[in-house]
């Protein structure tokens, strides 16, 4: 430690000692003179106690005043602790941005607890800092799989065994040949046929096919 440093410390120490040696405030309360009449004086004497008999004590100065550290004194040459700089103005000059509005704060319980306009919205907690809720952290129970189609209706072979092929009965004629009306000038033959009808056959072939049908 250099000599200059030592001298500086000594001067600071002496100032501290001087400061501590200053006489403290003592409670010196003198009775106030009372210039009133006799009657009033009696009443006053009944109601006003003798102030000299009242114990008045001053509270001790806060311990923080004497607990200055060396570093604090070095930072302030006068030995006085400087007040912190005033806080920034609470009114913003610019309109809030979308980022300011994004994390919506929780609804205040009352109007008194509502944050001021200048109060910055709480910073969103990071994903890593959010502890998983018990509901999320808890493992989900395994879902039971729906029974498969084979379980419900059996294998395709079984279906084939139980469902014999049945030909759908005919509900409409596949072809229709109409004769013309006598009132018409020319005979008109209307043939209504489906696309699956084969090539036109003679009347004899159709008749033979129909007559060849027998009960199953």
């Amino acid at each position: 430690m250099s000599a200059a440093r030592i001298e500086q410390l000594k001067s600071l120490l002496s100032r501290v000692q001087e400061r501590r040696s200053q006489p403290r405030l003592r409670a010196a309360v003198a009775p106030a003179p009372v210039n009133v009449g006799l009657d009033a004086a009696v009443g006053v004497a009944k109601t006003i106690p003798d102030l000299r008999q009242v114990n008045v004590s001053m509270p001790e100065p806060p311990a923080a005043a004497a607990a200055l550290t060396l570093d604090e004194m070095l930072e302030s040459p006068t030995g006085l602790v400087q007040a912190p700089p005033p806080a920034a103005p609470s009114v913003r000059a610019t309109a809030p941005t979308v980022e300011d509005l994004a994390p919506a704060p929780a609804a205040p319980a009352s109007a008194e607890l509502a944050p001021s306009v200048a109060a910055a919205p709480p910073a969103p907690a990071s994903v890593s800092s959010i502890a998983p809720s018990p509901a999320v952290a808890a493992p989900e129970p395994e879902l039971e799989l729906a029974p498969s189609v084979e379980t419900l209706i059996g294998t395709p072979e079984r279906i084939f065994e139980t469902a014999p092929a049945v030909e759908a009965p005919l509900t409409a004629p596949s072809a229709r040949v109409e004769a013309p009306l006598l009132s018409r000038a020319e005979p008109v033959v209307k043939v209504v046929s489906s696309p699956r009808i084969e090539a036109p056959k003679s009347f004899g072939d159709l008749l033979d096919a129909s007559l060849s049908l027998r009960p199953r």
Binding site: E167, P169, L170, T171, A172, P173, S174, A175, R176, V177, E178, A179, P180, L181, L182, P187, V189, V191, S193, I197, P200, K201, S202, F203, G204, L206, L207, A209, S210, L211, S212, L213, R214, P215, R216
Partner: protein
């Protein structure tokens, strides 16, 4: 030729006694007339030509309008506007059977179907069976689904 007013009671009486021979013979006469008007070999003619001539002949005699329907391999005749000869339409079935017998050159039976005005063309050997199915309420489709070409069963 006899009018419907004259022929109707005769057919009704014949059907009640189970004898439709006369009606069938009348149908054969109508078929001969249709084949004669067709000129060519009837069995080689197209169905449209045969039906056109047969229907014309029937209409001249007041038996309504004839049409032919194909239900798969089966043939169904439809006669619209025909007089009501008997309740079960056996008289008209005999008439059409006789006509087709004449046109086709072989015995043909027509069985009244459940559908009004329709007759299923079958072999005379199975006409009674088909007629039983019809009386049980089977439709044309159900009747034909019970039939299969000879030799395939």
């Amino acid at each position: 030729m006899l009018s419907t007013d004259t022929l109707g009671p005769l057919v009704t009486t014949a059907a009640r006694h189970g004898d439709l021979t006369s009606i069938r013979m009348l149908g054969k006469r109508i078929g001969d007339d249709a084949a004669r008007s067709l000129g060519d070999e009837v069995k080689e003619a197209t169905p449209e030509a045969v039906v056109a001539h047969a229907s014309g002949t029937l209409a001249l005699l007041g038996w309504g309008t004839l049409s032919l329907e194909r239900w798969g391999k089966a043939l169904v005749l439809s006669l619209e506007g025909a007089p009501q000869l008997d309740a079960e339409r056996l008289g008209l079935a005999a008439l059409l059977g006789g006509m087709l017998t004449s046109l086709g050159g072989r015995d043909v039976a027509c069985v009244p179907a459940q559908e009004q005005g329709r007759f299923v063309i079958v072999h005379p050997g199975i006409a009674e069976t088909v007629w039983t199915w019809t009386k049980e309420g089977k439709s044309i489709g159900e009747v034909i689904s019970r039939l299969a070409p000879e030799g395939s069963t």
